[in-house]
């Protein structure tokens, strides 16, 4: 009766709801092809409850005590985690054990490597850590695949969960890079202007030092095709070299030269003598523009396992963006090429305006100053 009353009195007081964190472990799995790299942070206090780490019984866990128990910790933890891909179970190999601190104390950090013996379509994670001694324990999972991260929570009620890995399909990934490529060519005004300036005279031909409207659409197309192709080949080349880290140029140099290329292209329209082979200009400066694209691609973060695919996809995106611009420009320019205003207003005026803009860019980029604060 006495103990009952003690219990009663104590139960009556509202139990404190402010207690510190319940038991959690943090599991990170990073999937690449048929391999999984794992990191698992388990609280030392939980490990002490489960397998007893406090050898000298003084209520304190030292690094010595933890290190001596590494074998047991590894065996205990790995016996409570099963990974499988489809019907194949993955082997898990412990790599090392370290220490880290979370908000509620010290954790043992288990790094492991898992091999599933084949491509992982669906990863099944069977998590049973501590549920037998702490029913409120939870495992917080971060699953990384490609650039994507999923999170999930394991509890006693949801100890087995499946994650589809293949859903990050090649197609989705490549679509993402195509999209980025298009976005970049449209938002990167310097590339658009460079291309447009080169294309402005394409619907004209130079006869006796004066601009005249070109006759057939097919020859205009051929002209445009040669310029665009030269530009494409050149920037693809340098984009690939830079993305693969074969060649690296300082970004300030690249960006200023791109601005300079726009200025020069504009000048070329004003002094047409030098523009007989505009595809050569397109090619030469295309090389520099490629380095500019590469900077964007690096910022996006290239997945290691599909470097080539993303590179090609990004490039395809750039081309699609380019072709869209050409498709919008060419028929329009072809239609008004005979008008009085085309050579004077559009070609000369347009080129002058572009030169002015590009000069501002050049000054800003080369000398690292802000002329027109946005």
């Amino acid at each position: 009766m006495r103990t009952l009353l003690v219990l009663i009195a104590w139960l009556l007081l509202n139990l404190p709801a402010w207690a510190h964190k319940p038991s959690d472990s943090y599991l990170s799995l990073s999937v690449e092809h048929d391999q999984v790299e794992g990191r698992w942070d388990i609280a030392l206090r939980d490990l002490a409850d489960a397998i007893g780490l406090d050898r000298d019984g003084n209520g304190q866990l030292t690094w010595g005590e933890v290190r001596d128990a590494h074998g047991e910790i590894g065996t205990y933890a790995l016996s409570r985690l099963m990974l499988s891909a489809g019907t194949r179970s993955c082997t898990i190999q412990m790599l090392e054990q370290l220490i880290d601190h979370h908000t509620d104390g010290a954790y043992s950090v288990l790094r492991f490597h898992s091999n599933c013996g084949g491509p992982i379509g669906r990863l099944r994670v069977d998590y049973r850590l501590l549920f037998d001694i702490d029913a409120q324990h939870k495992g917080l999972l971060r699953l990384t695949q490609g650039g994507q991260t999923n999170t999930a929570i394991f509890s006693r009620e949801s100890a087995v969960q499946e994650f589809s890995v293949a859903e990050r399909s090649r197609w989705a990934e490549s679509r993402q890079f195509i999209h980025e490529g298009i976005r970049h060519i449209w938002l990167g005004f310097d590339h658009v202007l460079f291309l447009l300036v080169l294309l402005l005279p394409a619907v004209l031909i130079l006869a006796e030092g004066r601009w005249q409207a070109a006759g057939e659409f097919s020859s205009v197309c051929w002209n445009v095709f040669s310029i665009v192709t030269a530009f494409t080949v050149a920037h693809s080349l340098t984009l690939t070299l830079a993305a693969l880290d074969v060649v690296r140029l300082p970004s300030r140099l690249v960006e200023s030269t791109i601005a300079a290329s726009v200025v020069l292209a504009g000048l070329g329209n004003l002094y047409p003598a030098m523009t007989s082979r505009r595809w050569l200009i397109a090619f030469g400066f295309g090389l520099i523009h490629g380095f500019g694209f590469a900077a964007v691609l690096t910022d996006l973060g290239l997945p290691h396992d599909s470097l080539l695919l993303s590179l090609v996809s990004f490039n395809v995106g750039v081309e699609i963006g380019q072709l869209a611009i050409v498709a919008a420009f060419l028929p329009l320019a072809f239609m008004i090429r005979r008008s009085w205003s085309y050579p004077r207003l559009v070609l000369t005026g347009g080129s002058l305006a572009v030169i002015a803009i590009a000069l501002v860019w050049f000054t800003e980029r080369a000398f690292d100053v802000q002329l027109f604060p946005i």
Partner: protein
């Protein structure tokens, strides 16, 4: 504008320091003697021994209900002293064999109700208790636990009826403690204090019971503004010598309100594990402009973030208080205080909601608390002050 900038700076700095705490690289210590963690007990502690022997009993006889109930009870009691919710999870694990039965044994249902009460699953806990009371209408403990949950939910009439069932079932001081606690909040503090004072003078009270009664008396005195009296009751409760998280928290709040920040720091200096006490420590450090305040605030922010990541919401009252008082972000604190009020309705919950509503200039948000104050004739001079402030202020 300046306020906005300050909030921005604080949050930015917190995020940076949070990254510092949570995402530091794992390392390999170089010194074998480096202490990485302090456990709840030494092997030689009586509590550890008791738990170990109960565990051994259960290992030998895993389906033995009595051993399981004893061990689970022990765990829950330990959780109360330490403020460590791990013990509740361990208690639950011990009861696994009976947890999902359709009609679990009453002893097991009682423990499940307590565990659920702790997780703020109040309606599930009440359902468990009602199930016990169907089989055992004279179960003292079930009536008591039911009364305390109903009180937290501000269902005072039902809570009183639950207490009254104790009249012939338990010793008189249990009945008086149960009723006195409710009376102290709902406008009968004088009567409540008179009765409980007599109870406290009885020499036969156990330690836990003495802490319980003295804490109710102290809280009631605080609410009526009887500072010296409150101090005496707190002293009485501490004299028992059993560590009690709830008592520590209430006393720290009392000291904070008195501006006795140094006393809070010395009281809670080593209590950095339990979030609620840690929060009060940081509040005192903030008032004293101690350097530890910054790192402690960052640590608290990380803990609340971790708790959200895990998907638990039992710390909402503390989080609201943290967000309002330490981050000074009333806009974010108010919804937390409102969410908390939807779950629990004790004077402390009312206070944080009123403070948030006042700081955010939102009178409508305070209305549920104002209604509660009037409907129940709540006696609490601080809540009355706050409610007047809210009614006087033109937002």
């Amino acid at each position: 504008m300046i306020r906005l900038l300050t909030v921005g700076c604080v949050i930015g700095w917190l995020m940076l320091s949070q990254i510092d705490i949570t995402y530091a690289e794992p390392y390999r210590p170089t010194d074998d003697a480096q202490v990485l963690e302090r456990l709840s007990f030494k092997v030689t502690d009586p509590a550890a021994r008791a738990i170990e022997s109960l565990r051994a009993d259960l290992r030998n006889n895993p389906r033995h209900l009595e051993s399981a109930v004893k061990l689970a009870t022990r765990y829950i009691e330990q959780g109360r002293s330490e403020g460590d919710p791990r013990f509740l999870g361990q208690a639950q694990a011990v009861l696994t064999a009976w947890w999902n039965e359709v009609t679990p044994p009453p002893a097991m249902l009682l423990l499940r109700a307590t565990i659920r009460q702790n997780a703020h699953e109040f309606s599930e806990a009440l359902a468990d208790l009602d199930q016990v009371l169907v089989v055992q209408p004279t179960n003292t403990q079930a009536w008591l636990t039911k009364a305390s949950i109903l009180q937290v939910q501000a269902r005072y009439d039902e809570a009183r009826r639950a207490c009254q069932r104790l009249a012939r079932l338990a010793a008189s001081h249990v009945l008086l403690g149960c009723l006195g606690d409710i009376a102290g909040v709902t406008g009968q503090s004088a009567k409540s204090q008179e009765l409980l004072r007599q109870v406290l003078s009885a020499p036969t009270l156990s330690g836990r019971e003495r802490i319980w009664i003295a804490t109710i008396l102290a809280e009631t005195a605080v609410r009526t503004g009887a500072i010296r009296e409150a101090e005496e009751y707190f002293a009485e409760a501490f004299k028992v010598g059993i560590k009690d998280q709830y008592l520590l928290g209430v006393y720290a709040d009392f000291l904070l309100d008195q501006g006795r920040y140094r006393d809070v720091v010395s009281l809670l200096q080593s209590e950095t594990r339990a979030d609620g006490l840690f929060l009060r420590l940081a509040l005192a450090e903030q008032a004293l402009r101690l350097p530890a305040f910054q790192s402690h605030t960052a640590e608290l922010a990380a803990r609340f973030a971790a708790s959200r990541e895990r998907g638990t919401t039992v710390h909402v009252r503390e989080e609201a208080r943290f967000t309002l008082a330490l981050l000074r972000d009333a806009q974010r604190a108010l919804p937390l205080a409102q969410a908390n009020w939807n779950v629990q309705r004790e004077p402390a919950d009312a206070r944080i909601l009123l403070e948030c509503a006042l700081a955010d200039g939102n009178r409508a948000a305070a209305q549920p608390v104002l209604d509660w104050l009037n409907a129940n004739h709540v006696e609490d001079f601080r809540l009355r002050q706050l409610s007047e402030q809210i009614q006087e202020t033109t937002f």
